[in-house]
């Protein structure tokens, strides 16, 4: 259930929110929506792809966090390194915007935690935590629309195509991720000069190449996952031999 109310300082001056990344905090996602303004931060860690909304079939940009539904390979990194870039739509925590105002979901498990961060200072100013949320929304709100406009132009130019991501892991499982899309590089190579200039001037060409470059991260993620799987199996080996003795 959700219970979203405007964030009123009089009423919620003492409210605390646990902003740490955790599986229970909605971070156990393998694909999360992102905006174009984040691409340069994202591309050093995550493959940036297109997905489709389940209800509308419409495209959105997303960062891939794992190979299996609900699996986020980066959760540990986020908890250990506060500076490790975490997509804005997860950074925003239990907050929403309601018209021009910030709103909060009082039923969210992160809200009201004793160990959480205060939202306001003793002077009634937004805390550092809340300030970061406000900044996140300043980027997110226009960013979602900018991203939609970017996607619409790519579609007009036939620059989006499906991508098959298939990875085989050390434990023998074959993982096939479907429903994902990327830049169609053949169409890109065929663009007319005038269109290339237009895309460059709008900043889209840089975004396009960031998406293409970010595909490298699929292999990095697969390696990381394999290394973890190997660690697990190594842990099992002595146990088994111990039984055999």
């Amino acid at each position: 259930m959700t219970h979203i109310v405007p964030l009123n300082i009089e009423k919620y001056r003492d409210l605390k929110v646990d902003g740490r990344p955790a599986a229970a905090h909605g971070d156990s996602r393998h694909f999360v929506q992102v905006i174009v303004g984040e691409f340069s931060h994202l591309l050093v860690h995550y493959p940036i792809l297109f997905g489709k909304h389940r209800e509308t079939g419409r495209f959105f940009c997303g960062a891939m966090l794992g190979f299996i539904e609900g699996e986020n390979q980066f959760l540990q990194d986020w908890r250990e390194e506060p500076e490790f870039y975490r997509p804005l739509s997860l950074q925003r925590g239990p907050f929403y915007v309601h018209g021009p105002e910030l709103a909060i979901d009082l039923d969210d498990p992160r809200v009201g935690a004793e160990s959480g961060e205060p939202l306001f200072t003793a002077q009634g100013q937004p805390s550092r935590y809340l300030q970061r949320i406000i900044w996140a929304f300043q980027d997110l709100q226009p960013g979602i629309e900018q991203t939609q406009i970017f996607i619409a132009r790519l579609l007009e130019l036939n620059l989006i195509e499906p991508i098959d991501i298939e990875v085989e892991f050390e434990d023998g499982t074959l993982r096939h991720c479907d429903g994902l899309y990327t830049i169609n590089q053949e169409s890109l190579a065929r663009l007319a000069d005038a269109v290339v200039i237009e895309l460059f001037r709008r900043g889209y060409l840089a975004l396009i190449y960031m998406m293409i470059d970010s595909l490298k991260q699929v292999r990095v993620m697969a390696r990381t996952k394999n290394a973890r799987l190997l660690k697990k199996t190594e842990g099992l080996v002595p146990a088994q031999s111990a039984r055999g003795e």
Binding site: T56, G57, F59, L155, P162, Y181
Partner: protein, 514 residues
Amino acid sequence: MKPIRSVVIVGGGTAGWLTAGIIAARHQARMKAGGFSVTLVESPDIRAIGVGEGTWPTMRSTLERIGVSETALFRECDAAFKQGGKFVGWTTGAPGDAYYHPLMIPHGFSRVNLVPHWLSGAHGGSFCDFVTPQGRLCDQGLAPKTIAQGEYRSAANYSYHLDAGKFGPFLARHCTEKLRVRHVLADVTAVRQSESGDITGLDSAQAGCIEGDLFVDCSGFHALLIGQTLKVDFKSCHDVLLCDTALAVQVPYETPDQPMASETIATAQAAGWIWDIGLPTRRGIGHVYSSRHMSEEAAREALLGYMGAQHRDLPVRKIPIRSGHRQIFWKNNCLAVGLAQGFLEPLEASAIVLVELSAKLLAEQMPACREVMDIVARRFNEVTLYRWGRIIDFLKLHYVLTRRTDTAFWRDNVDPATVPQRLQDMLTLWKFQSPWFFDELDRLEEVFPAASYQYVLYGMGFRTEVVPEDRAESSSDAAKLVTENARMTAELCARLPKNRELLNRIHQYGLQPV
């Protein structure tokens, strides 16, 4: 040498515009360069027949190739998904007598013929469910795809039900705005011919003389060029297909969210059958019957009985069905496409698919000059005559397999005198081997491939004697395919949305181009 640079199409119905679109898309580069033109002449007064509301999956590739947006098709032509035909009451007429002719071919069709394995009888259930998920999808009212699958992509093969009255104008906009087709609104008053009989131009009241190198007669029943001008005879097939009249009506839904079928339902009657086609806005229903076996009054009563007495006041349109086709379809520098070629009862939606195949053949084989045209014409005539023959056979197959003896209509239909020799031969052969590859039906673009014959034959309880040893070789492959089909069926049933729900979403959000 007399080059072919200008194609003139007469008639602005579905056939005319589809033909224009298919030719123009194929020759767009030449049209851009100014070396080729496509002109469509249409009378400002004549309204299209617009009965054909069912299509074949070929329509998906046709529309994709000519660059039509599928979202626009759904929104502007009241299009809906069609996943096949459901034939009710054709075999025995007893309650529960029904089978599907789905649009998906049997699973693994190119590798293993599953018919002998199904005939072993160890599995129970219908042939359709044994080999494909599509019958189950229709039973549950599910759509053949999800909103996340782009235009023309699918989870289960599909085609369209559409409002033919809106489809023509929709294609006209696309052809004139995107494909450089010239649209002339004019009444043809006279046809000019050279001494050889070739058509040189069309005199019109509004646009003077319209000249051309190649003429396509899409004038429907008028057969203005192929019949009236070039005097090609019509070959009736009434002796085979006994129905000769249709009564058509459009029935509104009780509520706007009433579930809608994604299959054409054909329900057998005492002297014919009733079609039932679900569009998002209404159902198209019609009674096709033999006037030799039933009076118009009785046919109207049967139609009313089917749709419910509350619809007594809806206007009913009477359409004569003169079953048959031209002796040849291309004569001199003129060919016929659409109803000008011929007409058959709409039992398997063969009318529009034949338009697509004819137009595609012309577009691909477009003669470079008059000197080679007769060679292309000969091929076109040979292939098209073959296609008409096979369609007639296939429609007759639905009748000849009946076990109904309750009325003279059904008894007359199994009279060997009404069954073409070729079909008789095939039926004799199929008692000992089932249709699959290496059968007669092996042409590159067969209207009804062997898979279609399998669905009708074994849907209607036809028996092929199979030697058990013959099955052994492929039995492990077959078992694997059957298991895969069952898994696929469960997976699709769990994941696909309801037919109407998906159409609503397409209207609201559109389908993505990829």
